[in-house]
Amino acid sequence: MIYLDNNATTALHPEVLKAMLPFLTAQQGNPASNHTFGRNAHTAIEEAREKVAISVNAHPSQVIFTSSGTESNNTIINGIAKAYPDSHFGFSSIEHPCISEPIKSLANQGFKISEIPVDSNGIFNVSDISSEMKQSLTFLSVMMANNETGVIQNIAEIADWARENKIQFHTDAVQALGKIKIDFEALDMDAMTISSHKIYGPQGIAALIVNKKIDLLPYMQGGGQEKGLRSGTENIAAIIGFGKACERSSENRVVFNEKIDLLRIALEKALVDLGAVIFSEKSHRLSNTTFFSFENIDGSTLLTALDRKGFAIASGSACSSNSDEPSHVLLSMGVDLDLAQGALRVSLGVENNKNEINDFIDTLKDEVNRLKQLTAVAA
């Protein structure tokens, strides 16, 4: 089986596993304990925190560990809502549900919320925001790179715009981490979400990077870990793994992109030759992500056919692939419902190589041609 679904989750890198193993197997303490076991655990966590901070050029004190990207996003949104009860929350129409859903749930509590559309290329343009909206917004969340289309937003420009207009700005950088350079300090924004299991680290650990100029109230109460912002005994082994994964992904980012770019370009050329539509084709995108659809071929049929031939790819976003609904990202870009319904996503990873992609392209050609013939016969 060839795994081509790296935006859903990635395989743990052996070096990351090696770093984690001592913390899974040997006697370990609770980092809050005052004895040697506890202090050793505490030191290990602080070292990992530094690695995570370095990978996005933040200060270690700005890193709050959480259990998932979803929790990080819920923490910033609920934390802002508590600390600033007059907030008006804005979010782009292509956000992951773990941004849009917590914001929508705030509407029930009386908060003002606004979903702000992207253009047909999947780009969020600050120039399209009305002056009334600009006056009223107090918080904005726009993801750095989209999990489905791979489109990379001009976050520096949005961050500048938000700062000039005194709007708190957060970016979900879960899909961007490890793939593009991230400089939290230079971006000068308020908060950022990153996650481990998209960068060959373990599942169950993520972080919220918070600029201290905003006040946050905790979203979960308890022992007061993570400077009171995230109570709960620290998930040491996973934190160590996350630290190692961050360190590795920064070191390998350039090489990774050079390699993956070539694979994706070859894949996209084959897709276009076969008549596929590649979404946001001309936009600045992640090197590993291709989101496409064939006009006259049923997406789920093609997905199943490819799965039988040993290729794991995704339909829409893994996190919500429980549902058969078409991608909300594509619909908000104005893509036709039929085309959106058939969308498939290939997301490449560090382990994929040229042979695998060539095999995939060959299989894709066979299957697409077979399905086209079937469709022609049926017509």
Binding site: N34, T36, E71, Q221
Partner: protein, 407 residues
Amino acid sequence: MKNKLYDMPIYMDYSSTTPVDPRVAEKMIPYITEDFGNPASRSHPYGWTAEKAVEDARKEIALLVNADPREIVWTSGATESNNLAIKGASNFYSKKGKHIITLATEHKAVIDAVRECERTGYEATYMEPEPNGLLDIEKFKSTIRPDTVLVSVMLVNNEIGVIQDITTIGNICRENNIIFHVDAAQATGKVKIDLETLPVDLMSFSAHKTYGPKGVGALYVRRKPRIRIEPQMHGGGHERGMRSGTLATHQIVGMGEAFKIAREEMVEENNRIKKLQAKLLKGLTEIEETFVNGDLERRVPHNLNISFNYVEGESLIMAIKGIAVSSGSACTSASLEPSYVLRALGRSDELAHSSIRFSIGRFTTESDVEFTIALLKEKIGKLRELSPLWEMFKDGVDLEKVEWAEH
């Protein structure tokens, strides 16, 4: 005997966290290496394998506590479970009323979640337990009001190990149509839990107190009669909408295996640990002026919490570096404030300060216990030799009546 393998003190702090059982670690590793899929991926076998592993583990959690797997919701730990249960249920049922009852000796994650509810317009009563740490049922009954919506009482206390009578408390809640939440983080593998018969609506679990990994827990949410909670974390709609977020498959697998081992070995293990506890209790209470905190009968065998009179707490901790113990709840032991649990039992600040929680478990040996007794006897003897208070006490001076000169 020192733990030679790591040149570390002897671990007597199992209530703070337990080591991962090697069998658990072994079971987890394939799910961080080859079977790494996202359980929410429905389009390929990587996702299916992960999903099956998650569901198998869910069955194991349910089996240990005799529940239906569909009643188990994964979380990142007991803190999240407690927050989800308390805020989620009180918000959902707020029409019934806005009064919450809990115990002053609950874990911080419960107390502070209830405080957060107070901040959003609820009223709360933090009941003081009896001097033995147990809740008085009559006093509890009289605390209930028509607008009481939720009661949260822990099954086993983390500091003093006492077991509350949750059957009686739960029945009273049922009679009064009140949601009953139980924090069982310290109870799994130590006391038998049968949710088929227990009148409990919501129950919190943690993996890392039961030889599983840190960073994973669960919340039991009763189906019959159906209990509803408002989700606290929104997103992809995982866990039937009750708790969004990608599931950490390997951790969940670890928790499942840990709870399976607990189910299979609990009876035998508790018998062994009970003997160790008896030995430790006998040895330590041979030291003069020692007081056991919390009821000795209604208590798990894993815990002994003892106050050593006429010894200064900090010096005692410094003196017994050969063992790893807690001087209060681990979560708050970074602060030098005396344990709020011991103070709620009516212990003086001095006695609370000089108390030690010994918590033993699966890998504690008889020689660990012997070493601990010998160490405590020696060090307390030395500290008391230096203590003028001890000298006065031995001379028969009633220290309560001494009028200390102002500096």
